[in-house]
Amino acid sequence: MDLTLSPAEEEFRDTLRAWIADHHPGREPDGDEASFTFRRDWQRALNERGWAGLTWPTEYGGAGATQIEQAILFEEFARARAPQLANVLGLTMGGPTVIAHGTDEQKERFLAPILSADEIWCQGFSEPESGSDLASLKTKAVLDGDAYVVTGQKVWTTYAHHSKWCMLLARTNPDAPKHRGLTYFLLDMEQDGVEVRPLVQITGEAEFNELFIDGARIPVENVVGGVDNGWRVAITTLMHERAGLAFALQARVQVALSELADELKGTKDPLIRQRFAQVAIEAQVLRLLAYRGLTSAAKGGEPGPEGSLGKWLWADLNQALTTLGLDARGPAGQLVDDVWTYRFLRARANSIEGGTTEILKNIVAERVLGLPRA
């Protein structure tokens, strides 16, 4: 057991920290367009340094770094309150999926613009009738000459209104068992037949969208990982999302926690002190779980069940943390606070998005503990 960084990792951290200090663009501007441009510029600066695809192989424009170094990047970004990257879904899911399952032509075509944020990616998985039971999705794709014609509706598509490409899961074989008839496509969003409608959430913002697809065309060369093989392709993507995300999320929790500590400094209220300590302790538990995930990913290659545990614990923790942030305001919690009211409301989705807590518990029960399926 050794929880220290190697000399090379320490050097990377110091170089990174200095680079962030030199390039940090300051506070994110208000407004959707301004905030998007700000995040895209930040990603471009990072990409020019060669760090946008930190863990991607160097032949695809990445830096070939380790998962530990990726974790260091997340922690340093959080520490410095660095902006988010505009193309987060392309970087964490789309790119890795193309690298793992794509053809040489696809790698040539799609990877570089993901890194440069010239082409933003979104994810078309969930549907109004298919949430936790994702494999039951109904959006269908029918072959017509050299292209598939797609009809259906997607929901919760983050960033769809800025996106050029959508990772689309659609049914290509209605007669096969539900997991076997799906195909993973890359859908060009800039065409007739694709309509994006903002979906306003309980926070009042429209971070997510609804996607209406009516006769959109996808050329056959934009199938990733083979026809009817989409479930397997999507699952590897989701597992990577959970393992990698656990680290980014825990880093953000540490930041919110230190902000809350500043606000609560000196409080004598024993209940608030107890709740704060519990959140601080669970934040450490989450951080260690994420590190442990890195250790097993480094050994085995594939993300283990830690990804599911981490996502679940993060949801519980972030909800407790943001609730405490609101409760600590006392009666003033009835009024909108620019920081904590938003965080509290936004956190309500944590136990739903990216796999509900109930589904994650099923995964742990069935695949880790070996309990019989419900």
Binding site: M1, Q274, I281, L371
Partner: protein, 322 residues
């Protein structure tokens, strides 16, 4: 960055597990704890070298402590460790007398020197030396000849407790005992709770696979399987935070004390939550004297209250942040 135990640490874990399984199968634990049979392995423990913790790092100590907890072994080893951590030169077998009657803060004894009464002293009968906490953070080594031991009724029958009255004789120990030593003791106790949580989680999962109601294994119901998943989450989380704290005590002094407080609070709660939930998963059979579950539940509850409870340790974490 590596969370894996070293080959040496794994070897220590295997040795401890095998020895405990051979000497303390649960039937033997019941004979000692419930039927009054004598625990007769101390000479063997000494031969194994386990009381001599000077050769152990904290991770090694935590690894063995987890196995101790998992076995429910009614050995005085853990109490002796606590005494050794406070008084490394201690000769013979030691234990710790820390709680004033009515006291809740382990660091705030009002006893004026080694004269007075302590409650809930573990493994007091047969101990050679008592480490006694007194006012002002002072600690005294008191020989058994200056102590009167009155057995108490312990919630956890696998760990006898006594009320001990000290007559005032004893040698004051130098050093800052509420620094590293008490935090190390907290981590060792937390590791025992991890052992309890891990074993009870495994028992519950096994039972949920075998027990059928309405013609299905009860583990196929989400009300049960999700309870088991929660046990697993808390057990894994507790083990990680205990290993971190143990490692930090030897390698990262800046983080070590908060890590130790975090470990004791989280692992105590985890073991308590796991055992309470396990009783629900086991249903009526788990509520019987005949079933072993109550022994684990009582150890979890008692251990959570030893060496500072979760509320006290959380307040230490809060004080470090706020």
């Amino acid at each position: 960055m590596n969370f894996e135990l070293t080959e040496d640490q794994r070897e220590i874990k295997r040795t401890a597990r095998d020895w405990l399984a051979a000497r303390y199968p649960i039937a033997r634990v019941r004979e000692i704890a419930l039927d009054g049979a004598a625990d007769d392995t101390w000479d063997e423990v000494v031969e194994l070298g386990w009381p001599e913790i000077t050769d152990f790092g904290m991770v090694e100590l935590a690894v063995v402590a987890e196995e101790l907890g998992a076995s429910l072994a009614p050995t005085p080893l853990a109490s002796h460790w606590a005494a050794r951590l406070l008084h490394p030169e201690l000769e013979g077998r030691g234990t710790v007398a820390m709680w004033d009657e009515g006291g809740t803060d382990p660091a705030a004894s009002t006893m004026d020197g080694p004269a007075g009464t302590k409650i809930a002293v573990p493994a007091a009968e047969g101990a050679d030396v008592f480490i006694v906490t007194a006012s002002g953070g002072r600690h005294f080594a008191v020989p058994s000849s200056a102590a009167t031991v009155e057995p108490a009724r312990a919630l956890d029958p696998t760990r006898p407790l006594s009320t001990v009255t000290f007559d005032g004789a004893g040698e004051e120990l130098s050093g800052d005992h509420f620094g590293r030593a008490w935090h190390a003791i907290a981590v060792a106790a937390a590791a025992e709770s991890v052992g309890v949580a891990a074993r009870v989680t495994a028992m519950s999962v096994q039972y949920a696979k075998e027990r059928k109601q309405f013609d299905r294994p009860i583990g196929s119901y989400q009300a049960v399987s999700h309870a088991c998943a929660q046990m697993f989450l808390e057990t894994e989380g507790a083990r990680n935070v205990v290993l971190w704290a143990a490692w930090a005590l030897d390698h990262d002094p800046d983080a070590a004390f908060m890590a130790a407080n975090s470990a004791k609070a989280y692992a105590s709660d985890a073991a308590v939550n796991v055992c309470r939930s396990a009783l629900q998963v086991h249903g009526g059979i788990g509520f019987t004297w005949e079933h072993d579950l109550h022994l684990f539940l009582k150890r979890a509850e008692a251990n959570a209250r030893a060496f500072g409870d979760s509320t006290w340790h959380r307040e230490q974490v809060a004080a470090a942040h706020l």
